[in-house]
C-alpha cells in the first residue's frame, strides 16, 4: 500500500481521494435520505444547477495549476448575464450576438488581467481583485434593477432539454418521465473533456504544470513562462465568459447580485478536487468531482430539513476544512516517506 502510495503522482493521489469521497457521500445520501437520490433526475438536476460552476471551476483550476488565482470569475459571470440581458431585451439583439458579447467580455478581462499578471509581474490576487470590483461595479452601471429576459429566441433556447435515453423515473402520477439535462450541461461536459485532454496530452497543457511547479526549471526547459501565465489567465477568463452565459441560460435574468460568491465556490471545488494553490498539482477530472461533491452536500443539507440558511455555509466550510486537512496530512506523510 505504502509503495503504491509512493509511486502515485500527487495529482492522481488527490484525485483518487476526491472520487472515493464523492461516491461515499452519494451512497450515504441514498442510504440516509431515501429514494430521492436514487432517481436519475436528482443527479441531473445537480448538473443542471451547477453547469456554470463546473465551467468556472475548470478555468480556476487551470490558473491555480499555473500558480496563480483568479477571483474575478464571479463578477465576470454577473457582468455577462447583465450585459446579455440588456442586449437581448432593451436593444433588441439576437442570441448569436449575445453569445459574442459574453465571449468578448471574457476575452477582454483575460487579456488585461493576463497582461498585468504575466508581463508586469503584479500579484494575480490583486489584479483579479480589481477585476472583480470592476466587473461588479460595471454590472450596476449597466443596469441597476434585476429583470427577466423575455426574448423569444432566448427563452426557447433556455427551455431546450436534452433527453437522456434509457434513464428516467416514474413520477407521482404514474407516468414515466425521461431524465433530461439543459444545454449548459452539454457545454460544460464538452469543456471538461477538452480541458482534460489539453492538460494531459498537449505540450501547452504540460507547460502549465511545469510553470506552476517550478518557474525556474520551466524557464530552463525552454518554456516561455510569461506567455504560459498569460494564456492561463486568458483561458480562465474566456471560460468565465462562457460560464457566465451558461449561468445566464440557466437563470434567464440579469442582476447585479448574480453569482455572488461564485469565485469562492469555484476555488473550493478546485481544492476539493485536489488542485493545490501552490501550483503544479491538479486535475480537471478532480475539479469536476469537486463541484459534484460540493453541490451534493448542499442537496443533502437542504433535503435533510436543515433549511436554516446557516447550515449550508457551515457544512461546506466543514467539508472544505476536512479536505484541506486530509490533503495536508497525506502530502506531508508522502514527503516524509519519499525522504526515507
Amino acid at each position: 500500500m505504502t509503495k503504491k502510495l509512493k509511486n502515485m503522482t500527487d495529482t492522481n493521489l488527490l484525485l483518487t481521494i476526491t472520487i472515493v469521497v464523492f461516491f461515499l457521500m452519494y451512497i450515504g445520501a441514498i442510504v440516509f435520505q431515501g429514494k430521492g437520490f436514487l432517481k436519475p433526475q436528482t443527479f441531473f438536476n445537480i448538473l443542471n444547477a451547477n453547469a456554470a460552476l463546473i465551467i468556472l471551476s475548470c478555468g480556476m483550476s487551470l490558473v491555480m495549476i499555473t500558480g496563480g488565482i483568479d477571483i474575478s470569475v464571479g463578477g465576470v459571470t454577473a457582468l455577462v448575464s447583465m450585459c446579455c440581458a440588456v442586449y437581448l431585451d432593451y436593444k433588441g439583439g439576437n442570441v448569436v450576438g449575445s453569445l459574442f458579447i459574453a465571449l468578448g467580455i471574457g476575452l477582454a478581462f483575460g487579456l488585461v488581467q493576463g497582461f498585468l499578471v504575466a508581463y508586469l509581474d503584479i500579484q494575480p490576487f490583486i489584479v483579479s481583485l480589481a477585476g472583480m470590483f470592476f466587473a461588479r461595479g460595471m454590472t450596476t452601471i449597466v443596469n441597476t434593477n434585476p429583470f427577466n429576459v423575455a426574448n423569444e429566441e432566448f427563452v426557447a433556447l433556455k427551455e431546450t432539454r436534452v433527453i437522456i435515453p434509457g434513464l428516467g423515473s416514474v413520477n407521482k402520477l404514474g407516468k414515466y418521465v425521461n431524465a433530461y439535462v439543459e444545454i449548459g450541461v452539454v457545454v460544460a461536459i464538452i469543456i471538461v473533456i477538452l480541458m482534460f485532454i489539453v492538460l494531459r496530452w498537449t505540450k501547452l497543457g504540460r507547460s502549465f504544470y511545469a510553470v506552476g511547479g517550478n518557474k525556474q526549471s520551466a524557464l530552463m526547459l525552454g518554456i516561455n513562462v510569461k506567455r504560459t501565465k498569460f494564456l492561463s489567465h486568458v483561458i480562465c477568463s474566456l471560460l468565465a465568459g462562457i460560464g457566465g452565459y451558461v449561468y445566464f441560460l440557466h437563470v434567464g435574468s440579469g442582476a447585479a447580485s448574480h453569482a455572488a460568491g461564485a469565485e469562492m465556490n469555484a476555488i473550493a471545488s478546485s481544492i476539493i478536487g485536489g488542485t493545490m494553490l501552490t501550483g503544479g498539482v491538479g486535475n480537471i477530472a478532480g475539479t469536476f468531482f469537486g463541484v459534484l461533491s460540493l453541490s451534493t452536500i448542499q442537496n443533502i443539507v437542504s433535503s435533510a430539513g436543515l433549511d436554516q440558511a446557516w447550515w449550508t455555509g457551515i457544512t461546506i466550510a466543514a467539508m472544505l476544512c476536512l479536505f484541506l486537512v486530509i490533503q495536508s496530512v497525506v502530502m506531508s506523510r508522502k514527503n516524509a516517506a519519499m525522504k526515507k
Binding site: 500579484q123 480589481a130 470590483f133 461595479g137 446557516w310 466550510a317
Partner: protein, 351 residues
C-alpha cells in the same frame, strides 16, 4: 533605511494626489464645521471627519493584516466574517435571552472581552491550519469566510438584537463633550499599542525573518510555526476591536451586510502601503496610511454622487493604476526612459 523611505512614499503620494484632486475639483471637501447633533452634543462634521471616522476600522485591521501578510506571505480573507461573529457575540452577551433588552445584561467591557477571546480563538483556528497543517493562508481562511456569517447568525438564533442603551453607542459614535468621533481615538490607541509592541519587542524582526526565509529563520533559533500562529491571533484581536466599533455604530447587527468586503479593503490597504503581498519586509505605518487613503477614495467617490453599488468599478480603476505604477517592471522601464532622456540632454549640451 532607504527602501523604507521609498515604500512609505507610495501611500503618501496617493494621499497627496487624492487631496490635490479634491482641492481642484471642489475645495469645500476640506470644510470642517462645528455643529450640534440632536442630543445637543458638539460634533465636527465634514468630509475629512468622515474619512477619519470611517477609516478607523480599516486602519485597525490593516495592523493585523500587515503582520499576517509579512509572516505567512498570504492574506486572511475571513476578517469580514470574523467581525460578524465577534459582533454577534458582543450583542449576545449584552442582550442575554431577550433580543430587545431595556437594560444591558452584562457590562460592555465583559462583552468586549468575551468577543476578544472568541475572535482570538477563531484566529487561532486559522493559525493552526496555516502554521501546523501548512495550508496556504487564503485557502485556510476560505473555510471561515464560508462559514463565518452563518455562525454569526446561529449565535443569535438569527434574531436581530437592538441595544437601546446610549452608552453602547459611544464606541462607534461620539462621547458627549468630545467633538471628534470615538473610532478615531480607538484606532489611534491601537496604532500606538502596535508601535510600542514593535519598538520594544522583537515581534517585527521575527515576523520579517519568518516571512523572508522560513527555514533559515528556524536555523537561527526562531519558531516559525509559533510566529505564524501568533500573527493570526493578533489579527483576531484587531477583529474584535473592529467588531465593537461596527456593532456600536448601529447598536445592532446585520449578519450578511456587516463588514462586507472589508477583507478586500484591508488587503488593499496593505498592498497600497507598498508591502509585498508575498511576505517578508513590512512597514506598518505605510499600511495604516494606505487604509486612510482607501477611505479617502471612497468618501471622494461618494461626494461625486457615485452609487454605492457602482463604487467598486471606480475603486478598481484606481487600484490598477496604483499597482501598475508601483510594479517593479514598470518602474525599471520608467527609470530607463528617464535616464535616456537625461543622457540625450547631456549629449545635446556637448554638441
Amino acid at each position: 533605511m532607504k527602501k523604507i523611505n521609498t515604500q512609505i512614499f507610495i501611500p503618501i503620494a496617493a494621499l497627496l494626489i487624492l487631496l490635490l484632486f479634491n482641492l481642484i475639483a471642489d475645495p469645500s471637501f476640506f470644510k470642517v464645521t462645528l455643529g450640534y447633533n440632536s442630543v445637543g452634543n458638539p460634533v465636527l462634521s465634514g468630509y475629512l471627519m468622515t474619512v477619519l471616522d470611517c477609516g478607523s476600522e480599516l486602519a485597525i485591521l490593516a495592523i493585523g493584516m500587515t503582520l499576517v501578510t509579512a509572516a505567512t506571505g498570504g492574506q486572511d480573507i475571513s476578517v469580514g466574517a470574523a467581525i460578524a461573529i465577534a459582533g454577534s457575540v458582543i450583542l449576545r452577551v449584552l442582550c442575554g435571552h431577550d433580543s430587545r433588552p431595556t437594560e444591558l445584561q452584562a457590562p460592555i467591557i465583559v462583552a468586549f472581552l468575551v468577543a476578544c477571546v472568541v475572535a482570538m480563538l477563531f484566529g487561532a483556528f486559522n493559525g493552526v491550519l496555516v502554521s501546523i497543517f501548512k495550508i496556504q493562508p487564503m485557502v485556510a481562511t476560505l473555510i471561515l469566510y464560508t462559514a463565518g456569517r452563518s455562525i454569526a447568525a446561529w449565535i443569535n438564533n438569527n434574531e436581530l438584537p437592538i441595544i437601546s442603551d446610549p452608552k453602547f453607542g459611544y464606541f462607534g459614535g461620539l462621547i458627549p463633550g468630545i467633538a471628534i468621533p470615538t473610532p478615531f481615538f480607538i484606532a489611534m490607541g491601537c496604532v500606538i499599542v502596535a508601535a510600542l509592541v514593535l519598538k520594544f519587542t522583537n515581534l517585527g524582526l521575527y515576523t520579517q525573518a519568518v516571512g523572508i526565509n522560513e527555514s533559515s529563520s528556524r536555523l537561527n533559533g526562531l519558531n516559525p510555526t509559533f510566529i505564524k500562529f501568533l500573527t493570526f491571533v493578533i489579527l483576531g484581536l484587531c477583529v474584535a476591536v473592529t467588531a465593537l466599533i461596527k456593532v456600536s455604530r448601529l447598536s445592532s447587527i446585520n449578519y450578511s451586510v456587516i463588514a462586507k468586503d472589508i477583507e478586500m479593503d484591508a488587503i488593499l490597504a496593505v498592498a497600497l502601503g507598498g508591502n509585498s503581498l508575498s511576505g517578508g519586509k513590512f512597514n506598518m505605518w505605510s499600511s495604516i496610511i494606505g487604509a486612510y487613503v482607501i477611505q479617502l477614495l471612497t468618501t471622494t467617490l461618494y461626494k461625486f454622487n457615485v452609487q454605492s453599488d457602482a463604487l467598486p468599478a471606480y475603486k478598481a480603476v484606481v487600484v490598477i493604476l496604483l499597482v501598475v505604477f508601483s510594479a517593479p517592471t514598470v518602474r525599471d522601464k520608467m527609470e530607463e526612459i528617464s535616464k535616456k532622456i537625461k543622457t540625450r540632454k547631456v549629449t545635446k549640451g556637448v554638441v
